[in-house]
Symmetry: C2
Subunit: 335 residues, 2 copies
């Protein structure tokens, strides 16, 4: 009796929802209101329409609708320096009193003196040392507390708002549009996975288990009969360049059919997606708007978008979004 | 107009489904029919009831209901040797004609001579060499083809059926019961992640992106303008022992509230889960049934379940399932 009642209810609901679903699919409402009408917006909508059309030649089952997004410069601002590096610099300053040797030791002395040019000159070596010193030697729980507090208080030097307010409204709409069409959205970033997991759920609606990033080695220990994971100053995985394709395989185990990046570090993720053997979508955000955000490309050290990548994207028909021309607004309305 | 109609429909359906949901929750049907009534079965049902009771003191939001399961010996048979090792041995035999040197080279000559005792004597070193030789030097796509074909044809030496037929029916019911209660179920295994992903979806209903395991390094390459990932003979991550707690943090980024294992390699996963700071459930399958499956414990090289772990589990109130006493049936009915 109960089982039959259940079946009848499920049937009624399925019929009602299908009817409503058709009405929605017939197109009330713009799913991407912050995107200007044009070829890029149309290509996104066309792609989603085709892969979700049951019985159509390009139909993809919901569980195979994997979409991967770079984070820095694709979902939020990455200038003038990567947000995670801004955090690391603030942490060096906050921890300086416990490390008197830093006053005379490179690269820390440059940070404490506010000499960003000297840090930039040191290149990757200096950055790695600063990140290692501020991202290891504590438990994962303590690290998360520090990051959360910083994200709730630190302000961007130009826009004077929280970093999490500097996410791109058009990309939030794109994430929501894909999820409404039963895509599973992932972040695949060169940034630290544990840093990102402190804001991705709240900011993008992407849960921790769908965040892929670079990571350090952790070590399981028992402290007073309580388990902890201690962060060690040792790299486990670099999720950048070819590492993005490798990371997608390692963490997801499926090939995406949709991927979005903004720089040379995303090239292999896009190439890997393009090899999906069916209809797939590859996109790049091009930072062309110095007034509302930033304009940069091949010469930028942060988020380098080389001419070679631009040529590859154009040649292969990947969508290159011009921030200036394709986006009506950049950031969400201030709360 | 359309929006209002949509809201009304969603409301009607929500009400109907809530009504039906309550009827189901009131308990028609046994969610774990292959489990004998007793303390273990009751403790599972009590736990699920408490963490899903909205407004109750132990309520856990659906997105935080993370459940992790070991694979070998917890979800399927691991005797007389790990299934993945059986695959590797068959692969050595299949590839021998291309490697004439194997006839005289340890450990391959033992495999080709069928001398399992000699392989066992070599211990981990021999096993690692055999796995490296059979799990690298090809693309991920080719590896998956080989594994899939093997899984569709190779038979277990004692039970004479496919390895994927030797999954535990009571655990399939447990996975389904948890998912029906909005748990997200993950595998956290010492086995190779790429090996497992060839059957976990079909066999357990666990999609590739929810499978965590040991892994080798892969390398992105372009072959004739097509992207491939080549498997290298180099370990990236060992998901065993403390590595299980580290892997859970690395891949999921949330602490489970439910975990099941069967051997010393699961100790730290269970300890990490036990540190979840709220109601959580830790379980171990104890292989006590030589007639229907196998009976083994501290002296087994495969799936060692030491007395120390048994004492820890008993002392901490973890559920220790006796296969002989707690399970009505072991395997699903044969098709």
């Amino acid at each position: 009796m109960h089982t039959r009642r259940g079946l009848v209810l499920v049937f009624i609901c399925a019929a009602l929802l299908a009817w409503q679903g058709r009405a929605l699919a017939e197109g009330q409402g713009d799913p991407l209101p912050s995107w200007n009408d044009g070829a890029i917006k149309q290509s996104i909508i066309d792609f989603v329409t085709r892969v979700t059309k049951e019985g159509g030649p390009d139909y993809v089952k919901p569980e195979e609708r994997i979409a991967t997004f770079d984070n820095d410069g694709t979902l939020w601002v990455e200038q003038p320096i990567y947000t995670q590096f801004a955090f690391a610099i603030d942490e060096v300053k906050a921890k300086a009193s416990k490390h008197p040797d830093w006053k005379t030791k490179e690269p820390f002395k440059f940070v404490l003196a506010g000499d960003m040019k000297a840090i930039a000159t040191m290149g990757e070596k200096g950055m790695v040392e600063i990140v290692a010193a501020t991202h290891s030697g504590m438990t994962t729980v303590d690290f998360n507390k520090t990051v959360s507090h910083w994200l709730e208080t630190a302000k961007h030097p130009r826009f004077k708002v929280l970093y999490t307010d500097l996410v791109y409204q058009p990309m939030l709409e794109l994430l929501a549009y894909l999820r409404a069409n039963h895509f599973k959205t992932f972040i695949v970033s060169g940034g630290g996975v544990e840093f990102m997991r402190n804001f991705t759920d709240k900011t993008y609606g992407i849960p921790p288990e769908q965040v892929i990033g670079s990571s350090g080695v952790t070590q399981f220990q028992m402290w007073d009969a309580s388990p902890v994971l201690v962060k060690l100053p040792k790299v486990l995985f670099v999720d950048d360049g070819p590492g993005k394709a490798e990371g997608i395989n390692h963490f997801i185990g499926r090939q995406p059919i949709f991927a979005f990046g903004n720089s040379d570090g995303d090239k292999e993720m896009l190439e890997w997606t393009a090899g999906c053997q069916r209809l797939c979508f590859m996109g790049l955000v091009h930072h062309t708007d110095a007034v509302r955000e930033y304009a940069y490309g091949p010469d930028s050290k942060v988020g380098t978008f080389s001419n070679a990548l631009l040529e590859e994207a154009t040649g292969k028909g990947w969508a290159v979004v011009s921030m200036k021309d394709d986006w009506k607004v950049i950031f969400p309305p201030q709360k």
